[in-house]
C-alpha cells in the first residue's frame, strides 16, 4: 500500500453509497482495490431491517426482507435530502411506511419511531466501514463518498451528514460518473473526450469529460436522480401483475404475498432477459403453481421510454459541453443497469461507437473514489479532478422569479458576490431565499434554504450595503458569507435548510448514535478476534509444516488448531475460547518459531 493510503493513523477509503448496493475500495501500489469480506463479497446491500432483537444491515437485512417487508428499508437513496411531498409517488411503491416528519421532511417510521434517511444511510455506511476495517486491519482515517452527479445541494449535504453520523470523516463528496472516469482513465492512461453513462439502481447520470495530462475536467453533466434499474424492475412486475389480474382476477392477483413474490422475482427475471430472449416465472397462488413467461422484446417495449429519457440527457450534456457526438473519443458505461442489452445498443446508436465495459460496472465508482481519496490524502499529485455544479443556483427576486447567480456546469469551486440593501429605514435584517434549478419561476425550482442576514447597522433604507458571497465548494455544496461593505463588519448569517438536517439535528443524532457505538465496538472486536484467529491458524500450521515442533507437542497443538478452525464460523464467544486454548497449547513451544511464522503470515495478509 502507498504511504498515503495507509499510515499510522489509518487508511482513506472510497465509498460508493448506492441505491441498491454499497461498497468500499482502497488505493494500493498496484492500483485501486475493492475491499471484500471473508466470503469474498464486496457489495453490501443498502438495506436495513429493524427486528425485535436489533437491526440487521446488508445481506442479512435483504434476506430478512421477505419476512419483514414493512420493517425492511431499502432504496433510501431515493428519499435522502428530499421533502415528504416530493417523494409521495416513491413512497407509495415502498413497502415500508414513509411519513412526513418535521419541516415536511421524508421520514421512515418503524415501531412509532421516525428515522431520517440520513440515519438509515449511516447504518449502511457503518456496515461498509466494519467490512473495510476487517479487510485492511486498520482504522479508517477518512472517506470519499460518491453521489449521483445530478444530486442537488440538499442531497449532497444529507449524504455528508450520513457519513458524519456513521462516525466517518468525509473528505470529499465526488460525483459518481467522474469517479468512474478516474477508474477508467487511470487504467487507460489516455487523453481524450469521454462520455460516462451511469445508470444505477435508482439514479441516472451522464457526464462529459476532457482528460488531458492527468487533469480530469468535467465539461457538462446531466441526469435524473429518480431513474434507474429499480424502475425497469417495477415496469416488469407491473406487466406480470397485469397478466395475473387478467388470468386470476383482481383480488387474487393483488394479494400481498402475490405482489411480493412478483416484485421479488422481477430483478432476477430482468437479469435473465439480459442474456436470454425469454424467461419464465412460477408463483404459488392458492396452492397451485401459476406459470408465466416474459420475453425480452416485452421488457424492452416497456423500458424504451425510460431509455429514451436517458438519451435526451446525453444530448443535453453534449450540447452544454459544446460538442458533437463524433468528437467523442470514448464512451464508458457504469452502473449495474448498463448490462441491459437495450441500453447498450441505444447508446451505441446514439454515439456511433461501441461503449467500454472493461471495468466491472458495479465496481468502477468505488475504485475511482479510492483514487480520489488517495489524491486528497496527498498520495497522488499527478491527477486532478475538476468537476461542475449540476444545477444552477439563484435568488428569489420580485414576483417569484429566480435570478440566476451561478449557472449549471460551472467548474467548482465557484463563487459569486451580490450586494443587498434594506427596504425600510433602520432595518437590521434581510431574508434571502436560495433556489436550485433551471426554471424561471420559484415554484418550478427547489428551495434550498433561507438565509437571514442580521446585525446590519441601523440606517436609512437602501443605505447599508451587504455583500453576500455564495461559494460552491469542491463538494458541490453551497457556503454563504456576508459582509457590510461600508463598515467592513462581518454580518451574521443563519441558514435554515429546506431539506435535510439542521446542525442541531445532526448533533442530536450523533448523541443517539453513541448508543450504537457500543454495538460497533463489539462488532469491531469480533472482527479483530477473527483476524487474529485466522492469523494464528496460518502461523501455527506453517510452523508445524516446518517440523520445528517438539514431537510431544504435535498432537495437542493440532487438536487446538482444529478446534479454532471449526469455530471460525461460530459465535465470537466460542471462538474466543478455542483461540485461548490454542494460545495455551502453543505457549510452551519456542516463542520465536510460532511468532515468526505468525508474523510472516500476517504480513502476507496485508497484501
Amino acid at each position: 500500500m502507498t504511504e498515503s493510503a495507509t499510515s499510522e493513523s489509518g487508511v482513506v477509503l472510497g465509498i460508493d453509497l448506492g441505491t441498491t448496493n454499497s461498497l468500499a475500495a482502497v488505493m494500493t501500489p498496484s492500483g485501486p482495490k475493492v475491499l471484500r469480506d471473508r466470503d469474498g463479497q464486496a457489495l453490501v446491500p443498502s438495506v436495513v431491517t429493524f427486528v425485535e432483537t436489533g437491526e440487521l444491515v446488508g445481506a442479512e437485512a435483504r434476506a430478512a426482507a421477505i419476512d419483514f417487508p414493512e420493517r425492511t428499508v431499502y432504496s433510501i437513496k431515493r428519499l435522502i435530502g428530499r421533502a415528504g411531498t416530493e417523494v409521495d409517488d416513491e413512497a407509495g411503491r415502498l413497502p415500508y411506511p414513509v411519513r412526513r416528519g418535521e419541516r415536511d421532511l421524508a421520514r421512515v417510521e418503524i415501531d412509532g419511531r421516525q428515522y431520517s434517511p440520513e440515519e438509515i444511510s449511516a447504518r449502511v455506511l457503518r456496515k461498509v466501514r466494519s467490512l473495510a476495517e476487517a479487510a485492511v486491519s486498520a482504522p479508517i482515517r477518512g472517506v470519499v463518498v460518491t453521489v449521483p452527479a445530478y444530486f442537488d445541494d440538499a442531497q449532497r449535504q444529507a449524504t455528508k451528514d450520513a457519513a458524519e453520523l456513521a462516525g466517518l470523516r468525509c473528505l470529499r463528496i465526488v460525483n459518481e460518473p467522474t469517479a468512474a472516469s478516474l477508474a477508467y482513465g487511470i487504467s487507460g492512461k489516455r487523453d481524450g473526450t469521454v462520455l460516462v453513462y451511469d445508470l444505477g439502481g435508482g439514479t441516472f447520470d451522464v457526464s462529459v469529460l476532457k482528460i488531458e495530462g492527468g487533469v480530469f475536467r468535467v465539461l457538462a453533466t446531466d441526469g435524473d436522480t429518480h431513474l434507474g434499474g429499480d424502475d425497469f424492475d417495477r415496469l416488469l412486475s407491473d406487466r406480470i401483475l397485469g397478466v395475473l389480474r387478467e388470468r386470476l382476477g383482481e383480488e387474487t392477483a393483488l394479494a400481498p404475498h402475490v405482489m411480493h413474490a412478483v416484485r421479488g422475482s422481477a430483478e432476477g427475471l430482468k437479469i435473465q432477459l439480459s442474456s436470454e430472449p425469454a424467461a419464465s416465472l412460477a408463483i404459488e397462488i392458492a396452492g397451485a403453481s401459476v406459470e408465466l413467461s416474459v420475453t425480452r422484446a416485452e421488457l424492452e417495449a416497456d423500458i424504451e421510454p425510460l431509455v429514451q429519457q436517458t438519451l435526451d440527457c446525453c444530448r443535453r450534456a453534449m450540447q452544454d459541453a459544446e460538442l458533437t457526438f463524433d468528437q467523442l473519443d470514448e464512451v464508458v458505461l457504469v452502473g449495474g443497469s448498463t448490462r441491459t442489452p437495450l441500453v447498450r445498443s441505444r447508446i451505441e446508436e446514439l454515439t456511433g461507437r461501441p461503449p467500454h465495459t472493461e471495468v466491472d460496472p458495479d465496481l468502477a465508482v468505488a475504485l475511482g473514489a479510492a483514487i480520489q481519496a488517495d489524491i486528497l490524502a496527498g498520495g497522488n499529485r499527478e491527477v486532478l479532478l475538476l468537476d461542475v455544479i449540476p444545477l444552477s443556483l439563484g435568488l428569489e427576486t420580485m414576483g417569484g422569479v429566480v435570478s440566476k447567480l451561478i449557472l449549471r456546469n460551472s467548474t467548482i469551486p465557484t463563487s459569486v458576490t451580490e450586494e443587498f440593501s434594506t427596504q425600510v429605514d433602520h432595518q437590521t435584517g434581510v431574508d434571502i431565499n436560495i433556489y436550485q434549478g433551471e426554471r424561471e419561476k420559484i415554484d418550478d425550482c427547489r428551495k434550498l434554504g433561507s438565509f437571514r442576514l442580521s446585525g446590519i447597522p441601523p440606517a436609512p433604507a437602501g443605505y447599508p450595503r451587504v455583500a453576500v458571497t455564495f461559494l460552491v465548494d469542491a463538494d458541490g455544496v453551497l457556503r454563504v458569507t456576508a459582509r457590510e461593505t461600508r463598515t467592513g463588519q462581518q454580518a451574521s448569517i443563519q441558514v435554515v435548510p429546506s431539506f435535510g438536517l439542521t446542525r442541531e439535528e445532526v448533533r442530536r443524532m450523533m448523541m443517539e448514535s453513541i448508543e450504537h457505538a457500543a454495538e460497533d465496538m463489539a462488532e469491531r472486536e469480533d472482527v479483530e478476534l477473527r483476524n487474529k484467529a485466522e492469523a494464528m491458524v496460518r502461523g501455527t500450521a506453517a510452523a508445524m509444516e516446518l517440523g520445528d515442533l517438539p514431537p510431544d507437542q504435535v498432537y495437542p497443538v493440532k487438536k487446538a488448531l482444529r478446534a479454532v478452525e471449526k469455530s471460525l464460523a461460530d459465535d465470537p464467544a466460542s471462538l474466543r475460547a478455542t483461540v485461548e486454548q490454542l494460545s495455551k497449547a502453543t505457549a510452551h513451544i519456542a516463542d520465536d518459531v510460532i511468532s515468526s511464522a505468525v508474523r510472516k503470515s500476517l504480513t502476507e495478509s496485508e497484501e
Binding site: I375, L376, L384, L385, L386, P413, S415, V416, L471
Partner: protein, 148 residues
C-alpha cells in the same frame, strides 16, 4: 482580445494544479476558506476570459471603468434596425429563418472583429458601443434558434 484559446486553457490547467483544494491539504478552516476562494476566483476568471464577449466586457471594465454605462444610449437608426431583426427572429420560418440566421451569424462575427480591433486601438467608447449593439444580434440569434 486576441488570445489563443489553447494557451489560455493550458495556463488555466497549470494554475488549477497549484490552486485546487484537492492539492492543498489544509487543516484550519480559515486556510481552507482562503484556498477555496482562490480556486473559485481562478475558475471564475477562466470562465470570463474564455468567452470572447465576456472577455471584452472584462477588458473594457478594467481599461476604462464606467465606459459600458456611459455608452448605453444607442443610435435611433440602430435601434430601429435591431427591433425589426428581433421581431423577425420571433416569427421567421423555413428558408426565411435560414437567411436570417446567416445574416445574424455574419453580423455577430463582424461585430466581434470590430470590437477586437477597437480594443486594440484603445478606442474604448467605440468598442463599448459595438459590444452593446452585438447583444441585440446575439439575442435575436438565440430567439431564432429557440423558435425552430
Amino acid at each position: 482580445m486576441d488570445l489563443d484559446p489553447g494557451e489560455l486553457e493550458r495556463r488555466y490547467l497549470a494554475l488549477s494544479r497549484e490552486c485546487h483544494p484537492d492539492h492543498q491539504p489544509t487543516e484550519s478552516p480559515q486556510e481552507q476558506q482562503l484556498v477555496l476562494e482562490r480556486a473559485a476566483k481562478l475558475n471564475d476568471s477562466y470562465r470570463r476570459l474564455k468567452d470572447p464577449w465576456s472577455r471584452a466586457t472584462a477588458l473594457l471594465n478594467l481599461s476604462e471603468p464606467g465606459i459600458l454605462d456611459r455608452t448605453k444610449q444607442l443610435s435611433p437608426t440602430f435601434l430601429m434596425e435591431a427591433m425589426e431583426i428581433s421581431e423577425a427572429a420571433l416569427v421567421a420560418r423555413g428558408a426565411e429563418a435560414d437567411d436570417l440566421r446567416n445574416r445574424l451569424e455574419r453580423s455577430i462575427a463582424a461585430s466581434l472583429e470590430d470590437i477586437t480591433s477597437k480594443i486594440g486601438a484603445r478606442d474604448w467608447a467605440a468598442a463599448a458601443t459595438a459590444l452593446h449593439e452585438s447583444r441585440y444580434y446575439r439575442k435575436a440569434l438565440a430567439d431564432l434558434q429557440a423558435n425552430q
